[in-house]
Amino acid sequence: MNETPAHPLALIAELTHRCPLHCVYCSNPLELQSRSNELSTETWSRVFQEAAQLGVLQADFTGGEPLARTDIIDLVRAARAAGLYVNLITSGLPLDESKLTALVAAGLDHIQLSFQGAREEPANEISGAKSHAQKLRVLEWVKQHRVALTLNFVIHRRNIDQLEAMVAHAESSNATRIEFANVQYYGWAFANRENLLPTREQLDQSLTLIKREQERLQGRIRIEYVVPDYYAKYPKPCMGGWGRKLMLITPSGDALPCHAAKVIPGLSFENVKTRSLREIWERSAAFQKFRGEDWMQEPCKTCDRREQDFGGCRCQALLLAGDATATDPVCSLAPMRPKVDAILAGMNSAPPDQLFAKPSWLYRTNPA
């Protein structure tokens, strides 16, 4: 049974793969789209109209760095004119005060500013760029504007001990929300996993600290904490379920059910240049592929939790079990869970000097 959900709630618009940062856990695919393949302003504007007509409520502008698009102000205005809530997910690097003013005037609703850490040196090491000081400047500029602000910190072994200092950054800004997102291991992060995955002890300490800070800041700053799913008992409901809530458009216009979907063999993707969003949502084979339950194997097929987590993440199943239809191997019930346990056991028994030695990172490249 592949019942099509009425409409997606959010459109993830990967406006470009160009980025001034080179983060070692970037969620972009290893194969990046070049500038010459990027959609035009007109095509994006049509996509926003189609999205709103389909019932989409929010547009998440991301990348790469969305501010690398010279038409970013026009794109914000177009998405806002279509009636979408516009969220800009940015490193803050190609931003100055006048551009911020223009973005807010164009109707920007929300800024999600990414940080690579609380301290300059390690943050710059992770991003492969001098980026941290500029982010602190952006925090000051945002105070002058009526726009909602989330600080996003991507968490891993090298910065998970900085959570308190990260919260302090948020408290000195006008953020109403902090997102602590532990790295999820796909693409670039999968390649750097052995240097990023936190230890069990670090994770336990972070959970205690987050709980305390959530209570302390209740009503002022909402704190969300995404745990690394290798340590979870059950898998995350990846993307809220395949083809159920979200639609991602790549810089060149391919419509994907998730960021990493292109790693799954045998899937072909429709492009917004030749198909409407509604056609893609309702009929594209890629969106149908893992909807419903027909594709599931045991133990998912008869599991009580299958409507909560939808079998977890298809890309992770492929990466760890070699089969995109397998139960997500992070699930404690999955036949392939021993593989995840072995990864964790190996890492948690390694000596600290090895765990915290300076790694040779695989930095994210830039598209040609």
Binding site: L9, Q58, A148, G219, R222
Partner: protein, 71 residues
């Protein structure tokens, strides 16, 4: 709200529509007391204050001083 959405109907929609930076909490209460004139005014007020407090806790709105209204 980023990455979330409110499903609104009936009274919740009537309340949120008035969270526009211009209405004061007292104005919202009086207008809804008129709309829901069959309900006890006291109960309507309690429900509205409870709902606004919940939205504030979720960081969906802020209370601002009354000469400027309430957002």
């Amino acid at each position: 709200m980023p990455e979330r959405a409110l499903r609104l109907n009936g009274p919740s929609l009537e309340i949120v529509e008035r969270c526009d930076g211009k209405h004061t909490v007292q104005q919202i209460v009086s207008e809804l007391q008129q709309i829901y004139s069959k309900a006890q005014p006291q109960k309507v007020e309690e429900d509205i204050l409870g709902y606004l407090a919940l939205l504030q806790k979720e960081r969906a709105l802020d209370f601002i001083p009354s000469n400027a209204g309430e957002t």
